[in-house]
Protein backbone atom coordinates (compact mmCIF):
# COMPACT_ATOMS: atom_id res chain seq x y z
CA UNK A 1 0.00 0.00 0.00
CA UNK A 2 1.38 3.41 -1.03
CA UNK A 3 4.62 1.61 -1.74
CA UNK A 4 5.26 1.15 1.98
CA UNK A 5 7.15 -1.99 2.82
CA UNK A 6 6.47 -3.51 6.23
CA UNK A 7 7.86 -6.97 5.48
CA UNK A 8 10.65 -6.36 8.06
CA UNK A 9 8.03 -6.45 10.77
CA UNK A 10 7.82 -10.19 10.31
CA UNK A 11 11.39 -10.53 11.58
CA UNK A 12 11.30 -11.70 15.23
CA UNK A 13 14.47 -9.74 15.97
CA UNK A 14 12.79 -6.45 15.08
CA UNK A 15 9.62 -7.45 16.87
CA UNK A 16 11.72 -8.12 19.92
CA UNK A 17 13.39 -4.69 19.66
CA UNK A 18 10.06 -2.96 19.40
CA UNK A 19 8.64 -4.76 22.40
CA UNK A 20 11.77 -4.11 24.45
CA UNK A 21 11.70 -0.49 23.33
CA UNK A 22 8.09 -0.05 24.43
CA UNK A 23 8.77 -1.70 27.78
CA UNK A 24 11.79 0.51 28.44
CA UNK A 25 9.89 3.62 27.41
CA UNK A 26 7.08 2.70 29.77
CA UNK A 27 9.51 2.01 32.61
CA UNK A 28 11.32 5.26 32.05
CA UNK A 29 8.08 7.21 31.90
CA UNK A 30 6.57 5.53 34.95
CA UNK A 31 9.67 5.99 37.09
CA UNK A 32 10.36 9.58 36.15
CA UNK A 33 6.67 10.54 36.42
CA UNK A 34 6.43 9.16 39.95
CA UNK A 35 9.58 10.91 41.09
CA UNK A 36 8.50 14.12 39.33
CA UNK A 37 5.17 14.10 41.16
CA UNK A 38 6.92 13.58 44.48
CA UNK A 39 9.35 16.41 43.70
CA UNK A 40 6.39 18.57 42.73
CA UNK A 41 4.60 17.95 46.02
CA UNK A 42 7.66 18.41 48.21
CA UNK A 43 8.74 21.50 46.27
CA UNK A 44 5.33 23.07 46.67
CA UNK A 45 5.37 22.19 50.39
CA UNK A 46 8.80 23.79 50.64
CA UNK A 47 7.52 26.96 49.00
CA UNK A 48 4.51 27.08 51.31
CA UNK A 49 6.79 27.16 54.37
CA UNK A 50 7.97 30.61 53.29
CA UNK A 51 11.54 30.18 54.46
CA UNK A 52 13.64 32.65 52.55
CA UNK A 53 16.61 30.50 51.54
CA UNK A 54 14.41 27.48 50.75
CA UNK A 55 12.20 29.63 48.52
CA UNK A 56 15.23 30.92 46.66
CA UNK A 57 16.61 27.41 46.22
CA UNK A 58 13.37 25.98 44.88
CA UNK A 59 12.74 28.96 42.61
CA UNK A 60 16.22 28.57 41.20
CA UNK A 61 15.67 24.88 40.56
CA UNK A 62 12.34 25.52 38.85
CA UNK A 63 13.75 28.31 36.66
CA UNK A 64 16.74 26.27 35.54
CA UNK A 65 14.77 23.17 34.61
CA UNK A 66 11.81 24.95 33.11
CA UNK A 67 13.82 27.34 30.97
CA UNK A 68 16.40 25.02 29.42
CA UNK A 69 15.85 22.36 26.75
CA UNK A 70 15.23 18.95 28.31
CA UNK A 71 17.61 17.43 25.77
CA UNK A 72 20.40 19.62 27.08
CA UNK A 73 19.47 18.62 30.63
CA UNK A 74 19.70 14.99 29.71
CA UNK A 75 23.07 15.31 27.98
CA UNK A 76 24.29 17.37 30.90
CA UNK A 77 23.13 14.74 33.39
CA UNK A 78 24.65 11.96 31.33
CA UNK A 79 28.07 13.54 30.87
CA UNK A 80 28.43 14.95 34.36
CA UNK A 81 27.08 11.94 36.20
CA UNK A 82 29.00 9.43 34.11
CA UNK A 83 32.26 11.35 34.46
CA UNK A 84 31.87 11.39 38.22
CA UNK A 85 33.34 7.95 37.81
CA UNK A 86 31.03 6.21 40.23
CA UNK A 87 31.61 2.54 39.58
CA UNK A 88 30.20 -0.62 40.99
CA UNK A 89 30.87 -4.31 40.40
CA UNK A 90 28.19 -6.16 38.54
CA UNK A 91 27.25 -9.08 40.82
CA UNK A 92 26.58 -11.39 37.84
CA UNK A 93 29.48 -10.77 35.51
CA UNK A 94 31.97 -9.46 38.06
CA UNK A 95 32.82 -6.57 35.73
CA UNK A 96 33.26 -2.94 36.67
CA UNK A 97 30.29 -0.94 35.38
CA UNK A 98 29.27 2.67 35.89
CA UNK A 99 27.04 2.99 38.95
CA UNK A 100 24.68 5.22 37.04
CA UNK A 101 23.64 3.64 33.78
CA UNK A 102 22.41 5.73 30.86
CA UNK A 103 18.93 4.65 31.92
CA UNK A 104 19.49 5.98 35.43
CA UNK A 105 20.86 9.27 34.09
CA UNK A 106 17.84 9.66 31.80
CA UNK A 107 15.54 8.88 34.71
CA UNK A 108 17.19 11.45 36.95
CA UNK A 109 17.15 14.17 34.33
CA UNK A 110 13.54 13.52 33.33
CA UNK A 111 12.44 13.42 36.96
CA UNK A 112 14.02 16.79 37.62
CA UNK A 113 12.54 18.30 34.46
CA UNK A 114 9.06 16.96 35.24
CA UNK A 115 9.52 17.82 38.90
CA UNK A 116 10.19 21.47 38.10
CA UNK A 117 6.98 21.66 36.07
CA UNK A 118 5.05 19.75 38.75
CA UNK A 119 6.19 22.15 41.49
CA UNK A 120 4.53 24.94 39.55
CA UNK A 121 1.35 22.91 39.14
CA UNK A 122 1.11 21.92 42.80
CA UNK A 123 1.99 25.40 43.91
CA UNK A 124 -0.94 26.86 42.02
CA UNK A 125 -3.13 24.05 43.35
CA UNK A 126 -2.14 24.89 46.92
CA UNK A 127 -2.74 28.57 46.30
CA UNK A 128 -6.42 27.86 45.68
CA UNK A 129 -6.67 26.25 49.13
CA UNK A 130 -9.18 28.27 51.15
CA UNK A 131 -7.50 29.71 54.23
CA UNK A 132 -10.45 28.47 56.26
CA UNK A 133 -9.54 24.86 55.47
CA UNK A 134 -5.97 25.32 56.61
CA UNK A 135 -7.22 26.96 59.77
CA UNK A 136 -9.65 24.12 60.44
CA UNK A 137 -6.74 21.70 60.13
CA UNK A 138 -4.65 23.71 62.56
CA UNK A 139 -7.45 24.05 65.08
CA UNK A 140 -7.92 20.27 65.01
CA UNK A 141 -4.28 19.84 65.96
CA UNK A 142 -2.80 18.71 62.63
CA UNK A 143 0.91 19.40 62.31
CA UNK A 144 2.17 21.19 59.19
CA UNK A 145 3.33 17.88 57.74
CA UNK A 146 0.09 16.01 58.49
CA UNK A 147 -1.98 18.89 57.18
CA UNK A 148 -0.02 18.79 53.96
CA UNK A 149 -0.44 15.09 53.27
CA UNK A 150 -3.88 14.51 54.71
CA UNK A 151 -5.68 17.69 53.75
CA UNK A 152 -3.82 19.88 51.29
CA UNK A 153 -2.44 17.29 48.90
CA UNK A 154 -5.78 15.49 48.42
CA UNK A 155 -7.59 18.76 47.76
CA UNK A 156 -4.89 20.49 45.70
CA UNK A 157 -4.20 17.41 43.57
CA UNK A 158 -7.75 17.48 42.37
CA UNK A 159 -7.42 21.10 41.41
CA UNK A 160 -4.16 20.65 39.53
CA UNK A 161 -4.92 17.30 37.91
CA UNK A 162 -5.55 18.78 34.44
CA UNK A 163 -2.20 20.56 34.40
CA UNK A 164 -0.58 17.46 35.83
CA UNK A 165 -1.98 15.48 32.89
CA UNK A 166 -0.27 17.93 30.53
CA UNK A 167 3.00 17.61 32.37
CA UNK A 168 2.94 13.81 32.37
CA UNK A 169 2.07 13.71 28.67
CA UNK A 170 4.89 16.09 27.97
CA UNK A 171 7.25 14.00 30.08
CA UNK A 172 6.19 10.83 28.30
CA UNK A 173 7.09 12.31 24.94
CA UNK A 174 10.36 13.66 26.28
CA UNK A 175 11.48 10.14 27.22
CA UNK A 176 12.24 9.68 23.50
CA UNK A 177 15.25 11.97 23.98
CA UNK A 178 16.88 9.31 26.10
CA UNK A 179 17.76 7.59 22.80
CA UNK A 180 20.44 10.25 22.37
CA UNK A 181 22.29 8.95 25.41
CA UNK A 182 21.86 5.33 24.22
CA UNK A 183 19.00 4.32 26.50
CA UNK A 184 17.38 1.44 24.59
CA UNK A 185 13.85 2.79 24.59
CA UNK A 186 11.42 2.95 21.70
CA UNK A 187 13.04 5.80 19.78
CA UNK A 188 16.46 4.21 20.13
CA UNK A 189 15.29 0.93 18.61
CA UNK A 190 13.48 2.81 15.87
CA UNK A 191 16.86 4.21 14.82
CA UNK A 192 18.41 0.77 15.01
CA UNK A 193 15.70 -0.69 12.83
CA UNK A 194 15.85 1.91 10.07
CA UNK A 195 19.64 1.84 10.07
CA UNK A 196 19.30 -1.88 9.46
CA UNK A 197 16.42 -1.87 7.00
CA UNK A 198 16.64 1.62 5.43
CA UNK A 199 12.83 1.73 5.80
CA UNK A 200 12.93 5.12 7.54
CA UNK A 201 9.45 6.29 6.61
CA UNK A 202 7.79 2.99 7.48
CA UNK A 203 9.55 2.80 10.83
CA UNK A 204 8.69 6.41 11.67
CA UNK A 205 5.03 5.91 10.83
CA UNK A 206 4.89 2.85 13.04
CA UNK A 207 6.67 4.58 15.93
CA UNK A 208 4.38 7.57 15.55
CA UNK A 209 1.35 5.33 15.85
CA UNK A 210 2.79 3.58 18.89
CA UNK A 211 3.39 6.94 20.62
CA UNK A 212 -0.10 8.13 19.76
CA UNK A 213 -1.59 4.97 21.24
CA UNK A 214 0.54 5.08 24.40
CA UNK A 215 -0.03 8.76 25.06
CA UNK A 216 -3.76 8.39 24.40
CA UNK A 217 -3.94 5.60 26.94
CA UNK A 218 -2.16 7.86 29.42
CA UNK A 219 -4.52 10.78 28.89
CA UNK A 220 -7.54 8.49 28.95
CA UNK A 221 -6.32 7.07 32.25
CA UNK A 222 -5.82 10.54 33.65
CA UNK A 223 -9.28 11.68 32.59
CA UNK A 224 -10.77 8.61 34.26
CA UNK A 225 -8.80 9.41 37.40
CA UNK A 226 -10.08 12.97 37.27
CA UNK A 227 -13.66 11.77 36.96
CA UNK A 228 -13.14 9.30 39.80
CA UNK A 229 -11.68 11.96 42.08
CA UNK A 230 -14.29 14.62 41.33
CA UNK A 231 -16.06 15.56 44.53
CA UNK A 232 -19.79 16.04 44.44
CA UNK A 233 -20.52 19.71 45.00
CA UNK A 234 -16.87 20.79 44.90
CA UNK A 235 -14.84 22.22 42.01
CA UNK A 236 -15.87 20.40 38.84
CA UNK A 237 -18.56 18.46 40.64
CA UNK A 238 -20.64 21.58 41.24
Amino acid sequence: MFGLDYSWLADPAYQNWLVTGVINTLELAALSSSVAILIGMLGALGLSLRVFWLDALIEFFVEVFRNTPPLLQMLFAYFTLSTLGLKTTDPVTGLEVPLLSAFACACISLSLFGGALAIEAFRSGLETMPKAITEAGRSLGYSRWARFWRIEVPIASRVCLPSLTNILTNLFKTTSQASVITVPELMYYAGQIYNDTFRTLEVMILILIIYVVLVSILSYGMSRLEAYLTLPGYGKGQ
Binding site: S139, L140, G141, Y142, S143, A146, I155, R158, L231, Y234
Partner: protein, 248 residues
Protein backbone atom coordinates in the same frame (compact mmCIF):
# COMPACT_ATOMS: atom_id res chain seq x y z
CA UNK B 1 -10.06 33.34 94.63
CA UNK B 2 -12.81 32.87 92.09
CA UNK B 3 -10.52 33.75 89.24
CA UNK B 4 -8.02 31.00 89.65
CA UNK B 5 -10.82 28.43 89.62
CA UNK B 6 -11.96 29.61 86.20
CA UNK B 7 -11.52 27.20 83.32
CA UNK B 8 -10.34 29.98 81.03
CA UNK B 9 -8.41 32.95 82.28
CA UNK B 10 -7.36 35.76 79.97
CA UNK B 11 -5.45 38.64 81.43
CA UNK B 12 -4.65 41.88 79.68
CA UNK B 13 -3.83 40.50 76.25
CA UNK B 14 -2.49 42.71 73.49
CA UNK B 15 -2.22 41.87 69.84
CA UNK B 16 -1.14 44.00 66.89
CA UNK B 17 -1.08 43.38 63.19
CA UNK B 18 1.76 45.60 62.04
CA UNK B 19 1.09 49.03 63.49
CA UNK B 20 -2.54 48.30 64.08
CA UNK B 21 -3.33 47.27 67.65
CA UNK B 22 -6.37 45.01 67.44
CA UNK B 23 -6.52 43.88 71.07
CA UNK B 24 -5.69 46.56 73.60
CA UNK B 25 -5.74 44.68 76.85
CA UNK B 26 -8.57 42.19 76.98
CA UNK B 27 -9.29 40.36 80.23
CA UNK B 28 -11.93 37.72 80.65
CA UNK B 29 -12.46 34.64 82.73
CA UNK B 30 -14.88 31.86 82.00
CA UNK B 31 -15.96 29.23 84.48
CA UNK B 32 -16.60 25.64 83.69
CA UNK B 33 -20.05 25.14 82.20
CA UNK B 34 -20.49 28.80 81.47
CA UNK B 35 -21.71 30.18 78.14
CA UNK B 36 -20.24 33.57 77.37
CA UNK B 37 -21.34 35.55 74.34
CA UNK B 38 -19.16 38.19 72.77
CA UNK B 39 -20.93 40.88 70.81
CA UNK B 40 -19.63 44.04 69.24
CA UNK B 41 -19.15 45.93 66.01
CA UNK B 42 -17.31 44.47 63.06
CA UNK B 43 -13.55 44.77 63.38
CA UNK B 44 -13.60 45.16 67.14
CA UNK B 45 -11.40 42.08 67.58
CA UNK B 46 -13.92 39.36 68.45
CA UNK B 47 -12.51 36.73 66.11
CA UNK B 48 -9.00 37.67 67.10
CA UNK B 49 -9.75 36.95 70.77
CA UNK B 50 -11.04 33.48 69.92
CA UNK B 51 -8.04 32.74 67.71
CA UNK B 52 -5.71 33.76 70.51
CA UNK B 53 -7.51 31.57 73.03
CA UNK B 54 -6.86 28.43 71.04
CA UNK B 55 -3.38 29.47 70.02
CA UNK B 56 -4.05 30.00 66.31
CA UNK B 57 -2.61 33.48 66.78
CA UNK B 58 0.30 34.24 69.10
CA UNK B 59 -0.28 37.21 71.38
CA UNK B 60 2.18 40.07 71.89
CA UNK B 61 1.60 40.55 75.57
CA UNK B 62 -0.56 39.13 78.33
CA UNK B 63 -1.59 35.84 79.83
CA UNK B 64 -3.94 33.12 78.60
CA UNK B 65 -4.67 29.97 80.54
CA UNK B 66 -7.09 27.24 79.49
CA UNK B 67 -7.34 24.45 82.06
CA UNK B 68 -3.73 23.89 82.94
CA UNK B 69 -2.34 25.03 79.60
CA UNK B 70 -0.62 28.37 79.55
CA UNK B 71 -1.47 29.13 75.95
CA UNK B 72 0.80 32.16 75.59
CA UNK B 73 3.79 29.97 76.44
CA UNK B 74 3.09 27.30 73.82
CA UNK B 75 5.41 27.83 70.89
CA UNK B 76 5.18 24.91 68.46
CA UNK B 77 2.19 23.13 67.00
CA UNK B 78 3.39 20.05 68.81
CA UNK B 79 3.14 21.80 72.15
CA UNK B 80 -0.36 22.93 71.20
CA UNK B 81 -1.55 19.39 70.57
CA UNK B 82 -2.97 18.78 74.09
CA UNK B 83 -4.69 22.18 73.92
CA UNK B 84 -6.39 21.19 70.66
CA UNK B 85 -7.88 18.28 72.52
CA UNK B 86 -9.30 20.60 75.14
CA UNK B 87 -10.45 23.51 72.97
CA UNK B 88 -12.36 23.13 69.70
CA UNK B 89 -13.39 25.88 67.37
CA UNK B 90 -16.21 26.29 64.87
CA UNK B 91 -15.77 28.99 62.26
CA UNK B 92 -18.03 31.27 60.30
CA UNK B 93 -17.25 29.64 56.97
CA UNK B 94 -18.22 26.00 57.19
CA UNK B 95 -14.74 24.77 56.52
CA UNK B 96 -15.28 21.05 56.31
CA UNK B 97 -12.72 19.08 54.34
CA UNK B 98 -14.36 18.75 50.92
CA UNK B 99 -12.67 15.44 50.07
CA UNK B 100 -14.13 13.58 53.03
CA UNK B 101 -17.70 12.56 53.84
CA UNK B 102 -19.52 14.03 56.82
CA UNK B 103 -18.67 10.98 58.92
CA UNK B 104 -15.02 10.99 57.83
CA UNK B 105 -14.74 14.70 58.58
CA UNK B 106 -15.78 13.96 62.14
CA UNK B 107 -13.56 10.90 62.51
CA UNK B 108 -10.36 12.23 60.95
CA UNK B 109 -8.78 14.24 63.72
CA UNK B 110 -9.64 11.95 66.66
CA UNK B 111 -7.97 9.08 64.79
CA UNK B 112 -5.13 10.90 63.05
CA UNK B 113 -4.31 13.50 65.68
CA UNK B 114 -5.42 12.04 68.99
CA UNK B 115 -4.68 8.45 67.98
CA UNK B 116 -7.98 7.08 69.22
CA UNK B 117 -9.30 3.66 68.23
CA UNK B 118 -11.11 3.74 64.87
CA UNK B 119 -14.11 1.63 65.93
CA UNK B 120 -14.67 3.69 69.03
CA UNK B 121 -14.33 6.95 67.07
CA UNK B 122 -16.81 5.78 64.44
CA UNK B 123 -19.28 4.96 67.16
CA UNK B 124 -18.75 8.39 68.70
CA UNK B 125 -19.03 10.11 65.30
CA UNK B 126 -22.32 8.41 64.46
CA UNK B 127 -23.78 9.41 67.81
CA UNK B 128 -22.68 12.98 67.25
CA UNK B 129 -24.28 13.02 63.81
CA UNK B 130 -27.49 11.84 65.45
CA UNK B 131 -27.14 14.55 68.02
CA UNK B 132 -26.95 17.26 65.35
CA UNK B 133 -29.85 15.50 63.55
CA UNK B 134 -27.83 14.43 60.54
CA UNK B 135 -27.68 10.69 61.12
CA UNK B 136 -28.85 10.09 57.56
CA UNK B 137 -26.09 12.25 56.04
CA UNK B 138 -23.09 10.26 57.23
CA UNK B 139 -21.93 9.41 53.71
CA UNK B 140 -22.64 12.76 52.08
CA UNK B 141 -19.78 14.96 50.98
CA UNK B 142 -19.82 18.55 52.28
CA UNK B 143 -20.61 19.82 48.78
CA UNK B 144 -23.89 17.91 48.89
CA UNK B 145 -25.01 19.48 52.17
CA UNK B 146 -26.70 22.82 52.80
CA UNK B 147 -24.82 25.52 54.69
CA UNK B 148 -26.71 24.78 57.88
CA UNK B 149 -26.07 21.07 57.58
CA UNK B 150 -22.38 21.66 56.94
CA UNK B 151 -22.21 23.89 59.97
CA UNK B 152 -23.82 21.21 62.12
CA UNK B 153 -21.30 18.65 60.84
CA UNK B 154 -18.58 21.16 61.75
CA UNK B 155 -20.03 21.34 65.26
CA UNK B 156 -20.06 17.54 65.47
CA UNK B 157 -16.47 17.52 64.24
CA UNK B 158 -15.49 19.95 66.99
CA UNK B 159 -17.34 17.84 69.58
CA UNK B 160 -15.60 14.67 68.41
CA UNK B 161 -12.36 16.03 69.84
CA UNK B 162 -14.10 15.71 73.24
CA UNK B 163 -13.20 19.27 74.16
CA UNK B 164 -13.95 20.99 77.43
CA UNK B 165 -14.49 24.28 75.63
CA UNK B 166 -15.89 25.16 72.22
CA UNK B 167 -15.33 28.52 70.62
CA UNK B 168 -17.99 29.54 68.11
CA UNK B 169 -17.11 32.38 65.75
CA UNK B 170 -20.25 33.77 64.16
CA UNK B 171 -21.25 30.33 63.06
CA UNK B 172 -24.60 31.47 61.71
CA UNK B 173 -23.43 34.61 59.94
CA UNK B 174 -23.10 32.94 56.53
CA UNK B 175 -26.41 31.08 56.73
CA UNK B 176 -29.84 31.96 55.45
CA UNK B 177 -32.45 32.70 58.15
CA UNK B 178 -34.19 29.33 57.84
CA UNK B 179 -31.07 27.30 58.59
CA UNK B 180 -29.87 29.66 61.31
CA UNK B 181 -32.55 28.24 63.59
CA UNK B 182 -31.44 24.63 63.32
CA UNK B 183 -27.81 25.55 64.05
CA UNK B 184 -28.75 27.73 67.03
CA UNK B 185 -30.90 24.91 68.36
CA UNK B 186 -27.93 22.58 68.21
CA UNK B 187 -25.74 25.05 70.05
CA UNK B 188 -28.40 25.69 72.66
CA UNK B 189 -28.51 21.98 73.43
CA UNK B 190 -24.76 21.94 73.97
CA UNK B 191 -25.00 24.86 76.35
CA UNK B 192 -27.83 23.11 78.20
CA UNK B 193 -25.63 20.01 78.44
CA UNK B 194 -23.18 22.15 80.38
CA UNK B 195 -20.42 22.48 77.80
CA UNK B 196 -18.29 25.57 78.30
CA UNK B 197 -18.77 27.85 75.30
CA UNK B 198 -17.56 31.19 74.10
CA UNK B 199 -19.77 32.43 71.31
CA UNK B 200 -19.17 35.39 69.07
CA UNK B 201 -22.55 36.19 67.64
CA UNK B 202 -24.72 38.79 65.97
CA UNK B 203 -27.87 37.01 67.11
CA UNK B 204 -28.83 39.23 70.04
CA UNK B 205 -31.97 37.31 70.88
CA UNK B 206 -30.00 34.09 71.01
CA UNK B 207 -27.30 35.70 73.16
CA UNK B 208 -29.89 36.92 75.59
CA UNK B 209 -31.47 33.48 75.85
CA UNK B 210 -28.44 31.20 76.15
CA UNK B 211 -25.65 33.28 77.61
CA UNK B 212 -24.72 33.34 81.27
CA UNK B 213 -22.74 36.47 80.52
CA UNK B 214 -22.40 38.81 77.58
CA UNK B 215 -19.31 40.82 76.73
CA UNK B 216 -19.50 43.85 74.53
CA UNK B 217 -16.25 44.62 72.68
CA UNK B 218 -15.35 47.82 70.95
CA UNK B 219 -12.04 48.72 69.33
CA UNK B 220 -10.01 46.05 71.03
CA UNK B 221 -11.43 46.39 74.53
CA UNK B 222 -14.16 44.69 76.51
CA UNK B 223 -16.31 47.67 77.32
CA UNK B 224 -18.95 45.90 79.29
CA UNK B 225 -19.26 42.42 80.75
CA UNK B 226 -22.53 41.51 82.44
CA UNK B 227 -25.38 38.99 82.61
CA UNK B 228 -27.56 39.34 79.52
CA UNK B 229 -30.53 40.85 81.32
CA UNK B 230 -28.32 43.64 82.68
CA UNK B 231 -26.36 44.25 79.53
CA UNK B 232 -29.31 44.31 77.17
CA UNK B 233 -31.85 46.05 79.38
CA UNK B 234 -29.63 48.31 81.37
CA UNK B 235 -26.36 48.96 79.52
CA UNK B 236 -23.93 51.08 81.53
CA UNK B 237 -21.54 52.27 78.86
CA UNK B 238 -22.63 54.75 76.17
CA UNK B 239 -20.85 52.71 73.50
CA UNK B 240 -22.88 49.64 74.45
CA UNK B 241 -26.05 51.69 74.32
CA UNK B 242 -25.20 53.06 70.92
CA UNK B 243 -24.38 49.62 69.53
CA UNK B 244 -27.52 48.05 70.95
CA UNK B 245 -29.51 50.93 69.59
CA UNK B 246 -28.27 50.09 66.13
CA UNK B 247 -28.77 46.34 66.20
CA UNK B 248 -31.90 45.87 68.27
Amino acid sequence: MKRSEALIEIDNIHKSFGDFEVLKGISLSVNEGEAVCIIGPSGSGKSTVLRCINGLLPIDEGFIRVGNHRVHELRSEKEMRPLRHQVSMVFQQYNLFPHKTALENIMMAPIQVLGHERAEVEDRARKLLEKVRLGNKADSYPGMLSGGQQQRVAIARALAMQPEVILFDEVTAALDPETVKEVLLTIRELVDDGLTCILVTHEMKFAREVADRVCFTDRGLIVENAPPADLFDNPQDPRTREFLGQVL
